[in-house]
Symmetry: C2
């Protein structure tokens, strides 16, 4: 017997039916905004990640040399791949480009609750618009996806931040702006909730902020709880920060128009870890705090396409991760039922296989899920199997039934049964059940 | 600018919409028979393939050592993984187990038309039934999937064969049955249409058949064109072959009852390359021969689960490969349109964003694909974009429209436009177009 690999999962049919329902809900929400599905390779050249995605990713790659001597990696995220695709065909594509895809990604990291080495995300991205409506549309898609799953404003909230506010503040507060590593300071903010105070201020110190400045910076970003509080930050930060505050306000105003405002909170302690983010960034959290980590996040990455050799192309996206989303759905009691469902089992006894198959085909043509015997089972064996797959209705096609020009229609919940004329079964449309013939 | 890897493809939104339509058609066909989706990992232990899947696969694996020192491979096919899953939970699962999944797989092989290093398949498998109805159901699912795509009996045919007929004949004809490598003889039959006569008979010779016996064997298998012709083969082959012929006839009879008979032809020159097949095997071909290779295939693998350490569990499956299926669909003129389609573009001009967003949301709640401006564009710019995404209807929400309590409804095909009362737009249901308000 062979084992699977640690951090890699198999999903049996019950669990997968729930996962499919959740994936469909997310994809449908995005598709209704005109996001179009793309499909992308599982392997890319390792150089693309080494060059572009920051050191912290490289250590986690499933990287190897292929039989042709190429350095390749299992894709740890979608963004570099779609950036490459935009560069390759950017001129041909009408802007904004709005793409959607659900896929596994791979990182060699510690396995823990809600974190696996093979993990699934739905990526939703807009390329070619710098307007606040693009950021807001991405937030609206995320909100629609979550509410479609049955989650409410009591369950989740989006913590919306802005990289240029954080970076601008750091530079404005520092004695020597050029001596500060704003990227490192932003990464420190991203770690703020995950490490203790000493480590956090140590990281800010490493980024070039002295103790007093780091305190002032932290007081400013933790002091913002509402949009109005952004005035203080704008005043402290100078022109760049003022522009970023204005942009954040515009995004939140557009998100409100788009119906997502009630889920959005300003939170400057949100930063996102990846280096390529610019502008607005956000993370989705469990409002109850029971799921303690960020459920998923997103944001702007306006410079990435150009850094890949393309025309300057602003971009913004969000990528719900399915494992943490499952934790949130389970906490809120909205994770879909994992039981199998079956509309019909067509039970053939005696020499009735051809007629039973014709009835099963007729029901399938109406769009229903219909099983029939493929195991040469007795009446009782078939009924037991029909029960095990939660068949709603069993249609018995026996020799005696057919001699009477009938079939027997059995409701599996109640056990009640009746007969229906075989010439009229199934009808030309609908979903015939016991009630239609009793 | 970064390049993708040879043999790995990106699918942009137009092509992907066609691929999605085809995948959905295949999955829907299988789902209506009660096949249930499972999801499986992209990496497995290399040992599983080295031990079980035959030498010819091992050379083609994307195999490497992970950071924990494990020998791992990108999965080249689904069957060993689902076999492992059946072994792990076989006792808990009600039989027959009917599974479905669409995924990419990876093999390091020569890239050519319809063959890539990353390729997509939909696998449809039944575990736990040895009955001919199981084989027939798999054929029926394949037939339903292809006809759902618009293909007809003029487009495709299933060449149905039986491993035990081939193996039994080889042993019956050989002077010393124990000196013949029946597996090698079957692989020779699988190569028959791809190599010249000399090479084919050379392979049969390598398998242990002398020249005269190889000729006799080949005459017997090429002499079968109909079910009736199987009598000759049964007579030549003895008991084992007779039983296999009976099984093949039963499968074809069940397939006929299940509505797939008109697509099935007996063809003993069909063998399938993989070692784990037993019993009935089949391949789908382009009836016109224009797509010269097998489009996809399937068959029984009754011994695999037991060889993986499980209870004896007969199994049968089919795995349409999407690349060759695309070639067939294109040849037959039924490959779906690759153009984007959009139900509505809601065009906001002036200070109307909030109302326009409300209308867009209302249309989305009716299930439609609705785009609106996220790029701060002019009226003309928005109309041009709406045209580029093939919007069917544009709803103009202008300040003057709203002052008149109206919106403008424009049919993009004709250019005709009319107005609709804003309070009644969108209506509570349906798909409002120009015709509803003219």
């Amino acid at each position: 017997m062979y084992d699977g690999l640690k951090g890699f999962r198999e999903f049996y049919s019950g669990e997968q039916s729930a996962r499919r329902e959740v994936t469909d809900a997310i994809e449908d929400a995005a598709a209704r905004y005109g996001f179009r599905e793309v499909a992308t390779p599982a392997l890319e050249r390792t150089a693309m990640y080494v060059d572009k995605s920051g050191e912290e990713i490289v250590d986690e790659l499933y990287a190897f040399e292929d039989k042709g001597g190429r350095g390749v990696s299992l894709t740890p995220e979608l963004t570099p791949t779609v950036a490459r695709m935009v560069v390759a065909k950017g001129q041909e594509l009408s802007k904004p480009i709005k793409w959607l895809s659900t896929r596994p990604f791979w990182r060699y990291e510690q396995v823990q609750q809600g974190r696996f080495r093979e993990f699934y995300q739905t990526n939703v991205d807009v390329f070619g618009s710098a307007a606040p409506e693009a950021d807001a549309e991405v937030l609206a898609v995320a909100a629609d996806a979550l509410t479609a799953l049955g989650l409410t404003g009591d369950d989740f909230e989006f913590h919306v931040s802005h990289r240029d506010i954080l970076g601008g503040l750091v530079r404005a507060l520092a004695d020597d702006p050029d001596a500060v590593d704003t990227g490192a300071a932003i990464r420190a903010v991203d770690k703020r909730a995950k490490v203790d105070d000493g480590e956090y201020f140590g990281l800010l110190s490493d980024a070039g902020l002295d103790r007093a400045t780091a305190r002032e910076f932290d007081d400013l970003i933790t002091g913002v709880e509402t949009v109005a509080d952004l005035d203080t930050v704008a005043a402290a930060g100078g022109e760049d920060v003022e522009a970023a505050v204005e942009n954040l306000r515009n995004v939140l105003a557009a998100a409100a128009d788009f119906g997502a405002g009630r889920f959005c909170e300003v939170s400057l302690t949100t930063a996102r870890g990846l280096d390529y983010y610019t502008g607005v960034v956000f993370e989705c959290f469990d409002s109850t705090g029971e799921v303690s980590r960020s459920v998923f996040g997103g944001g702007r990455y306006d410079d990435l396409i150009e850094s890949f050799g393309g025309q300057p192309t602003p971009a913004v996206g969000v990528a719900p991760g399915h494992a943490t989303l499952k934790l949130l759905c389970q906490r809120a009691g909205v994770w879909p039922d994992e039981a199998l469902s079956t509309d019909y089992y067509v039970l053939s006894v005696g020499d009735t296989r051809e007629k039973a198959a014709e009835i099963a085909r007729g029901l399938r043509e109406l769009g229903h899920v219909v099983e029939s015997d493929v195991s040469d089972r007795s009446f009782g064996g078939q009924l037991g199997y029909a029960d095990s797959i939660n068949a709603e209705t069993v249609v018995v096609v026996g020799e005696r039934d057919l001699a009477n020009d009938e079939v027997t229609v059995k409701d599996m919940a109640s056990g009640d049964e009746t007969t229906a004329p075989v010439d009229e079964f199934p009808p030309a449309s609908g979903r015939p059940t016991y009630e239609d013939y009793e």
